[in-house]
């Protein structure tokens, strides 16, 4: 901590507008906060609330159509709103650095890593050879092993986590007094995210740099920041020390946001997720009263007509609400659906095995290399049950979904049976009933819905093809389905472009249910959505399952979501199932070492700290899997288990370690239990 009292960054009543199609639209209103030297300030909010605009404004780096229309920005006590471009450049060169969300686009693909980092040092006056030396030292600082070798590589030769480390090294090269990090770990796998966050924490301790940390992920913010500001519709609605704000949220929006998240322990069978009704206001909306009034359960006439000021809750903890005292007891908002289930022709009952996958493998050939992306996967799914698939990117989750759907042909020997009936390997050899019986909700509704077709057509056509209805009754059923998914009738003629992300995903879900499916695969259905929308979509899926006894295969990298919605969970690593069991068993242990590492890497929203079990090294290429157990080079439990030799030479089988709990590990369960306690 520095001894001066001057904050590194101070925003005072900042207002920013964007000019969109000739009209000025205000995106930030009355933003005031300050960051002390050495402090980490977190800015959290949903997409479109203006988080990144704050960051860009603080760096005087607004897009060309953006301008500061009011207020002040002070950097170390000096106003930077009016200074000219030359001074701004000087500031960015020597005092403020930024780390963006996507490291692969932040690096120049044509320049070697070493040279890119060295350039920053040269810019600050170092000689060529000195700059190279310091670049290497910078890589050591961000804990990259074998920095000399990494310096010679190009950006595409780095993994996501490595690339982000390099970006951080570049940002730190100028020895900045303020580091702006905009969603620095979004898009990275959980274990990599945890490593990058650890690194940032350590660097902050060593360098004493002030950090403005922007994220939509409340768990990350909670674990990284000293103080937090909650942004809604371009307005700071609540601010305070991290623990105060999370333990005693005092703005209805913060309360709602925290309640939306499927926190540890919540399960669909007993808990329903809260949602925040309505949608965030469009860019540039004008407000007479409180920005959150339209979605707030505590709203009264005063809120609608009079803009609230910040009220002190407790010391530095402030909230912009007339009813901050009542925020904690905000009524729960739980929406219901009016879905009309269809009588199904199958005779199964809840609990019976519906889908049986056995010995499924898939080999892709790339540049002459055979890459075994799925290796001997066997799973079962019961009627009305949800099977969660978790694993890091590249573990084969989506490929399994495609194999089940018949979009990709499995290798010989793999068998998929639905309701006791063997399914053809590819889609064009399956009959309509089989195809309609297994449907999917894709991750990205922008790509999954044809942007040239209307909502009615998208759903109606699916009904027509899969159910054999006439065109007219298909449209009728499509409207029924859409209304059941809470897509209003006025939107049925709209194109996907005109809908919000959540509505698009509802349309995609309606389409998946068009053929009265027995199984719906959900491939990261909520990862492109904000948490409040995510909660509503999860509730919808759970309701549909209850009414229709539909089974789900739910793919997600978000362990909280998977835990909430799944009955059983399969953990995948390098195309293999390493652990398979009930949600309870998988999350409460004893764990497979990989599962253990994965779980420990998730930042906890309740602020509890736990020891992180690191996975060392990088995910090996599936074209050259390690000998023995594929996890062994990275396994956190191999050393000292007494099974090292076996782990390195022989691949373990998936064995039932206790009733209904399968693991692929040489270390016996009793030993694992002992190591993990």
């Amino acid at each position: 901590m520095s001894t001066t009292n001057i904050p590194t960054l101070e925003l005072h009543d900042l207002e920013v507008s964007y000019t969109v199609r000739g009209i000025d639209r205000q995106v930030l209103r009355d933003i005031s906060f300050s960051i002390a030297p050495g402090e980490a300030y977190g800015l959290v909010g949903e997409s479109g609330c203006g988080k990144s605009t704050v960051a860009f404004a603080a760096m005087r780096y607004l897009p060309r159509n953006g301008k500061i229309t009011g207020g002040e920005i002070f950097f170390e006590g000096k106003s930077i709103v009016e200074i000219d471009e030359g001074d701004v450049a000087q500031l960015r060169r020597s005092a403020i650095s930024m780390v963006y969300q996507n490291p692969s686009t932040a690096l120049n693909p044509t320049i070697r890593i070493g040279k890119q980092i060295a350039e920053v040092f040269e810019l600050n006056g170092a000689s060529k050879s000195e700059a190279i030396e310091r670049a290497q030292a910078a890589l050591v600082q961000v804990q990259i092993s074998d920095p000399a070798q990494v310096m010679r590589r190009y950006a595409h030769q780095l993994s996501g986590g490595m690339a982000q480390r390099v970006v951080i090294a570049m940002a730190l090269a100028s020895n900045p007094r303020l580091l702006v990090m905009d969603e620095p770990t979004t898009g990275l796998d959980a274990t990599v995210e945890a490593e990058v966050l650890d690194l940032v924490r350590e660097l902050r301790r060593d360098t004493g740099t002030a950090v403005l940390f922007i994220s939509h992920n409340l768990g990350v913010i909670r674990n990284m920041c000293d103080r937090v500001g909650v942004l809604y519709a371009g307005t700071l609605v609540e601010q305070g020390a991290t623990a105060d704000l999370f333990n005693n949220p005092s703005h209805p929006y913060t309360v709602g946001l925290l309640r939306c998240i499927p926190r540890g322990g919540l399960h669909k069978s007993t808990d329903r997720l809260d949602t925040i009704p309505g949608t965030p206001p469009a860019l540039g909306t004008k407000f007479d009263g409180c920005v959150f009034a339209a979605r707030c359960a505590l709203v009264d006439d005063k809120c609608r007509t009079q803009p609230p000021q910040m009220v002190t809750i407790d010391g530095a903890h402030v909230a912009r609400c007339f009813h901050s005292d009542k925020a904690g007891s905000l009524p729960r908002s739980v929406e219901q659906i009016e879905y009309v289930p269809e009588a199904k022709g199958h005779s199964t009952k809840v609990g019976d095995t519906l889908l049986d996958i056995s010995h499924l493998s898939k080999v892709f050939t790339q540049d002459g290399h055979r890459i075994r992306v799925i290796n001997d996967v066997s799973l079962t799914l019961g009627v009305g049950e949800t099977l969660g698939l978790v694993g890091e990117s590249g573990s084969g989750k989506t490929t399994i979904a495609k194999l089940v759907l018949g979009l990709v042909e499995p290798e010989d020997g793999g068998i998929i049976t639905l309701d006791g009936k063997g399914l053809a390997k590819t889609l064009n050899r399956r009959d309509v009933q089989d195809i309609g019986g297994i449907q999917i909700v894709f991750q990205n509704p922008d790509q999954a819905l044809n942007r040239r077709h209307s909502v009615t057509r998208i759903v109606g056509r699916a009904v027509e093809r899969l159910r054999g209805f006439s065109a007219q009754s298909s449209i009728k059923r499509a409207h029924e389905l859409l209304l059941g998914m809470r897509v209003e009738a006025s939107l049925h003629g709209a194109r996907p472009v005109q809908l919000s992300g959540g509505l698009k995903q509802r349309v995609a879900i309606a389409r998946a249910f068009a053929g009265a499916p027995q199984i719906v695969l959900c491939d990261e259905p909520t990862s492109a959505l904000d948490v409040s929308v995510q909660a509503a979509i999860l509730n919808l899926l759970v309701d549909l399952q209850k009414q229709d006894q539909t089974s789900f295969i739910f793919i997600s990298h978000d362990l909280g979501v998977v835990r909430y919605i799944s009955d059983r969970i399969a953990v995948l690593y390098l195309g293999r199932v390493v652990e398979f069991g009930t949600s309870q068993r998988v999350f409460n242990g004893p764990f497979h070492p990989y599962t253990e590492a994965l779980l420990s890497s998730v930042p906890n929203i309740d602020g509890s700290t736990r020891k992180r079990i690191p996975l060392t090294g990088v995910v090996p290429s599936p074209s050259k899997p390690p000998s023995g157990c594929v996890l062994n080079p990275r396994c956190p439990r191999k050393e000292g288990s007494g099974y090292e030799a076996l782990c390195e030479t022989e691949e373990p089988n998936l064995t039932e370690v206790e009733p209904g709990h399968f693991m692929r590990c040489h270390v016996p369960m009793a030993k694992l239990k002992q190591l993990q306690s």
């Binding site: 964007y18 997409s47 479109g48 203006g50 988080k51 990144s52 605009t53 860009f56 897009p63 969300q101 759907l405 979009l407 889609l427 309509v432 195809i435 309609g436 449907q439 999917i440 894709f442 990205n444 922008d446 790509q447 999954a448 819905l449 044809n450 942007r451 040239r452 077709h453 056509r461 699916a462 093809r465 899969l466 194109r495 472009v497 005109q498 389409r511 068009a514 053929g515």
Partner: protein
């Protein structure tokens, strides 16, 4: 945020894009010029001042004047009227030729881009071979073979020669589109390949196709003019611009420049107008 905003512009509605297009200066100028020529092509007789074959033997090769705006040619025919009336032939032929090329090219490009694999490989190699053939030589050979120039043959030749370019452009767009999940979604409701190609994918590559069409149309105008200049494009005696230039260019050396200049300017103006339009479309559709 910037990601969000750029995503939003990419997803602009067609009607919004058209509104932007209407404000585009290049588009306004190009469309006005083209509109003039299309009007002349349809209602040529109204715009022209004399019949195309009317000859004033009193004033042969007279320079531009109030009576004959663009002067008269060596037969005493009004150059202005012949330029106006000549627009019909060149516009109709280049439009039909481009339409043929666009239709065949788009169908092949869609199929190749969607099916990929061996079909794509073989088809694209064949198309590459076709695009290596020079238009003019083929046209001259055709004239030699059938003994006379014919507009139908010209349309066929230009159409076939344009097919590979259109096919390649459409294929590239389809390659990207067919990876998107709405295609998988269509397969998962048992749609036939033809339906996926023409009802699902085609509407999404239509902007690309439209731009490619206008670019090709510009080239077609040049090709038709060149062929008729060489006497290999159209039936003998057509009042089209290429033939007019061919008939009169030698007079330039006698300082009679007007019967050559005005049809040439007409060719240039229509080619420029189409290029302005295609540039504007490229910009507005962000291709």
């Amino acid at each position: 945020m910037t990601d969000e905003t750029s995503k939003q512009t990419k997803q602009m509605e067609l009607s919004e894009r058209l509104a932007v297009l209407k404000k585009n200066k290049a588009f306004i100028i190009g469309a006005s010029i083209l509109a003039f020529w299309v009007f002349s092509a349809i209602f040529g007789k109204l715009v022209a001042r004399y019949d195309q074959d009317f000859a004033d033997y009193e004033s042969i090769s007279s320079s531009p004047s109030l009576k004959y705006w663009f002067g008269t040619d060596s037969s005493g025919r009004d150059v202005y009227s012949r330029v106006i009336i000549g627009s019909r032939i060149i516009i109709v032929i280049s439009f039909l030729a481009t339409l043929l090329g666009a239709f065949v090219g788009a169908s092949l490009g869609l199929t190749a881009g969607y099916l990929k694999g061996r079909f794509d490989m073989v088809l694209m190699r064949i198309l590459e071979a076709i695009s290596a053939i020079p238009v003019i030589i083929i046209a001259l050979l055709a004239v030699a073979a059938i003994g006379r120039a014919s507009s139908v043959i010209t349309i066929l030749i230009i159409g076939i020669i344009f097919t590979p370019n259109v096919a390649r452009t459409v294929r590239a767009a389809v390659l990207g589109e067919s990876e998107l999940e709405y295609v998988a979604a269509a397969k998962l409701r048992t749609e036939k390949t033809a339906h996926i190609l023409f009802r699902e994918v085609l509407p999404n590559v239509l902007p690309t196709l439209i731009v490619e069409f206008t670019v090709r149309l510009g080239y077609a105008i040049f090709a038709v003019a060149t062929l008729s200049f060489l006497g290999a494009g159209l039936e003998a005696g057509s009042p089209d611009w290429g033939t007019q230039v061919a008939d009169t260019w030698s007079l330039i050396f006698s300082e009679i420049w007007w019967p050559t200049l005005f049809p040439s300017l007409a060719i240039a103006s229509i080619a420029v107008s189409i290029n302005l339009i295609s540039d504007a479309l490229l910009e507005v559709f962000e291709l």
